[in-house]
């Protein structure tokens, strides 16, 4: 039921590979902590790989938005990679699809970040 996060670096961009559910409680808190930790280390170019996120609730959606605004307010960029159909549909319904920069290809996503 919970979410797993692994972190890797590619060309100055930190990729968080998320899998499982981003929901009220564990998933949302884990995501918040992971993003805060990256910002504390000065890593402000963040790509959230959601390919293996099969479920997200309103709390998880809210956490994505909060992560996006927190990173942006610190002068960084947070983008989303490889949405599943369910997450894609939810971001469309909530009009957030146009707010986030969403990519399907990892290399293209990496290249789209501003060079720091």
């Amino acid at each position: 039921m919970s979410m797993k996060i692994s972190t890797r670096q590619v060309d100055g961009v930190t990729i968080l590979d998320l899998s499982g559910r981003i929901t009220l409680g564990e998933g949302s808190v884990q995501l918040r902590d992971a993003v805060r930790e990256l910002l504390a280390k000065g890593q402000k170019q963040i790509l959230l790989n959601l390919a293996d996120v099969n479920y997200i609730d309103s709390s998880g959606i809210g956490e994505l938005v909060s992560a996006f605004t927190t990173v942006r307010n610190q002068g960084g960029e947070l983008k989303l990679l490889k949405l599943t159909k369910k997450v894609h549909d939810l971001l469309q319904i909530t009009k957030l699809y146009t707010v986030f920069d969403i990519k399907d290809d990892e290399a293209e996503a990496i290249g789209s970040f501003k060079q720091s």
Partner: protein
């Protein structure tokens, strides 16, 4: 054939997950397709979150009640809490430009998107949400 069951549960995340699982099973048994089951279980999860988090505020003295009913033509789920009461007229529109980047406030909106009918009833104390999903009665379903 009409079937009905209910739970009275603590104000906890475990209760939210239990109610969500019950909704998922009800949707599957009632012949909803995969998207229909997802929409039902998500709407019920959001209603349960609302009851536990916003209604009862995780108060261990307060309970939530979840009632599931298959009338044959629709699924009716009632989720109630013992909180201060929710007035749906005062909920901000999460799609409004000034609210789009808010970190919360999308639960009731998603429930309304995914269900055919949503009703609010003040219980003094508490709120009861009634969620209705119409079944496709032109097809044979369990």
């Amino acid at each position: 054939m009409v079937s009905r069951f209910s739970y009275t549960l603590d104000s906890s995340l475990e209760s939210v997950n239990k109610v969500e699982e019950a909704a998922e099973q009800l949707g599957q048994k009632s012949g909803l397709d995969e998207d229909g089951v997802f929409q039902l279980s998500m709407a019920v999860r959001e209603a349960a979150i609302n009851a536990v988090l916003h209604g009862n505020a995780y108060d261990p003295q307060k309970k939530i009640t979840a009632t599931f009913e298959n009338t044959g033509s629709s699924l009716i789920i009632r989720i109630s809490d013992q909180g201060q009461g929710l007035d749906p007229r005062h909920l901000p529109d999460p799609l409004a430009p000034e609210n789009l980047l808010n970190g919360s406030g999308r639960g009731i909106f998603l429930i309304r998107q995914f269900m055919d009918e949503v009703h609010f009833k003040l219980l003094h104390p508490g709120t009861e949400l009634t969620l209705i999903k119409n079944l496709d009665t032109t097809q044979n379903s369990a």
